[in-house]
């Protein structure tokens, strides 16, 4: 029970029910689609870069609470960040949700992303949390290839 509460924290449930930056974007500098065939989660991520900085970022799609909240909090966190800062955050986030967070304490502050710490107790749900991040990587690589977590 405590594991479930840790997984489905209020912040995550709020973001899954009322996701932020849940919209398409006119004239994104890049976009990418992510897909998890295991559960059918789909995300389309739009990014507008100004120089090296993420000036705007938004998403659309359908997915479980974890993947929707992850996309929502990602967009909130990364707006205004540089590509390098985004990449560093992904590394930290990945360590967090795969349970490596303790060993590798270095790197940028996770801020609100820390609410996903409970995911590490649910290995089958790691892909839900990371789908949008993999999709971001594809978007920043300016590839339009569909990302699949399988």
């Amino acid at each position: 029970m405590s594991d479930l509460r840790a997984l489905y924290q209020e912040v995550i449930l709020d973001h899954s029910k009322r996701p932020h930056n849940f919209r398409s974007m006119d004239g994104p500098t890049s976009k990418a689609q992510g897909y998890n065939p295991l559960c059918g989660d789909k995300v389309m991520l739009y990014v507008r870069l100004e120089g090296d900085r993420i000036a705007d970022i938004s998403f659309q799609g359908s997915g479980c609470a974890i993947s929707t909240a992850s996309a929502s909090i990602l967009t909130e966190t990364l707006k205004g960040k540089t590509r390098a800062e985004a990449a560093a955050l992904f590394t930290r986030f990945h360590d967090l949700v795969t349970g490596k967070g303790q060993q590798n304490g270095k790197g940028p502050e996770l801020g609100k992303l820390a609410v996903f710490s409970g995911v590490s107790e649910f290995p089958v749900r790691v892909k839900c949390a990371t789908l949008v991040w993999h999709t971001l990587r594809s978007a920043l690589g300016e590839s339009e290839e569909v990302v699949s977590t399988e």
Partner: protein
């Protein structure tokens, strides 16, 4: 302690004792996350009775040998056990001849065999294969591959909002171009029992052969391939309380005899030279290579077990469970059943308002309840109902009314955690 559901429970008329039946399945005593396992994922795979596990074990402990080869005693015993299983399957399906029973890995391979062998020979450019909108990917993709290769067309008969085949529309698709009808007997995602007798009659009036995907059906109702007069029937051992990796293709002998081999190799030949190979007769023609001997023997044991319980006992019990579970789920606000056919097997696919099945499944799992969440290898069907996925509870005769109560409680917990 009696619950509201207990009061609504119908008096069980069944001839078998559920507590005793559960004793036959060792895994049902397992705990998951510290809770008693409530296994409601039988449409994915069923659990195995001790007799099946022991039959496989016995083969490896004291009988292991290859079949159809050796002159030594063990090989003779293995061959006898292997062929005895074929006869068990023949009787189980009421096929006219054991030669009509081909052992394969499962339903998927059985359908691929027919698509590859029968399909390649008889389906040509401009021809059509007819399926329905409720097929599993394994009864869609092999036909797509065939149609693409041949320049043929795959036609899909529509279903209504209850998940029932719209028979008139299906019948309209049967034309002089139709070479085969391939239809699921019981839908894995909806539980719909298709009117296979009518389907076969309609197709046969136009001389079109029919393949039935029996992956879900074989474990839940008596299948009589001669009464049905189907041309091909497929099943998977592991959904029939048997081992994984073993399944059956039934085909009418005259069709199988006319079909080219599926795979080449040992056992499927009668003589080989570099100039010319003569193929073996059926069933060996379709069983290239060393088969899954232990699995086949295990499947035989599973059939013995099911026969001992008897469809006349297990089918009414499963139907009572289904009715009980359907009513219980209907009482929970925010839960909507997908698949409400009049003729239905004990499968309950549902969605919950505002909640994704993946999250539902995670919470239920923490309660020890195993269900399937996702698209159930039936993505076109999910699209038909406008949902990305469902949560599916699929029941077997060893499930109890108490386990349905546990599911209902689990769903309440889902609402509490995610609501």
């Amino acid at each position: 302690m009696a619950t509201a559901h207990d009061l609504a429970r119908p008096a069980t008329r069944c001839a078998f004792d559920i507590a005793r039946v559960r004793e036959d399945f060792p895994i049902l005593k397992e705990k998951v996350h510290g809770k008693p396992l409530v296994y409601l994922d039988n449409a994915a795979t069923s659990q195995k009775p001790r007799s099946v596990i022991e039959a496989e074990q016995r083969f490896y402990l004291s009988e292991c040998s290859n079949v159809h080869r050796g002159v030594h005693l063990l090989s003779e015993r293995a061959t006898q056990a292997y062929e005895a299983a074929r006869v068990k399957v023949q009787r189980f399906l009421n096929a006219g001849d054991a030669r009509e029973i081909i052992f394969v890995r499962g339903t998927t391979e059985a359908i691929n065999l027919v698509a590859s062998s029968y399909g390649r020979k008889y389906v040509q450019a401009g021809d059509e294969v007819v399926i329905t909108a409720m097929e599993h990917h394994s009864n869609i993709v092999p036909w797509q591959i065939l149609c693409e290769e041949k320049g043929a067309k795959l036609r899909v008969a529509p279903i209504n909002d209850d998940g029932e085949l719209i028979f008139e529309e299906f019948e309209k698709l049967l034309t002089s171009r139709t070479r085969l009808v391939a239809v699921v007997h019981i839908s894995n995602a909806l539980g719909t029992i298709n009117p296979v007798q009518r389907i076969i009659e309609a197709a046969h009036r136009r001389n079109i052969p029919v393949l039935l995907d029996g992956a879900q059906a074989a474990a839940h109702l008596k299948v009589d391939v001669r009464e049905l007069d189907c041309d091909f029937y497929t099943l998977s051992g592991h959904k029939l309380y048997g081992p994984t990796g073993i399944g059956v293709l039934y085909g009418k002998a005259r069709l199988l005899e006319a079909m080219p081999p599926y795979q080449g190799g040992g056992d499927m030949i009668s003589s080989v030279s570099f100039e010319k190979t003569t193929y073996n007769v059926i069933p060996a023609k379709f069983e290239a290579g060393t088969p899954n001997i232990a699995g086949t023997i295990g499947l035989g044991a599973a059939i013995d077990y099911v026969n001992q319980i008897g469809f006349e006992n297990l089918a009414p019990y499963e139907h009572e469970l289904l009715e009980y579970a359907t009513e219980a789920l209907a009482r929970i606000p925010g839960v909507r059943l997908i698949g409400t056919a009049k003729e239905k097997a004990a499968v309950l696919s549902f969605v919950m308002d505002g909640l994704h099945p993946h999250d539902v499944g995670t919470v239920l799992d923490q309660e020890g309840i195993a269900v399937r969440t996702g698209h159930h290898c039936a993505q076109p069907l999910m699209d038909r109902f406008g949902v990305p996925a469902t949560t599916r509870a699929s029941l077997a005769f060893y499930n109890s009314f108490e386990e349905v109560d546990a599911l209902v409680k689990g769903i309440q917990k889902v609402k509490e955690i995610l609501g």
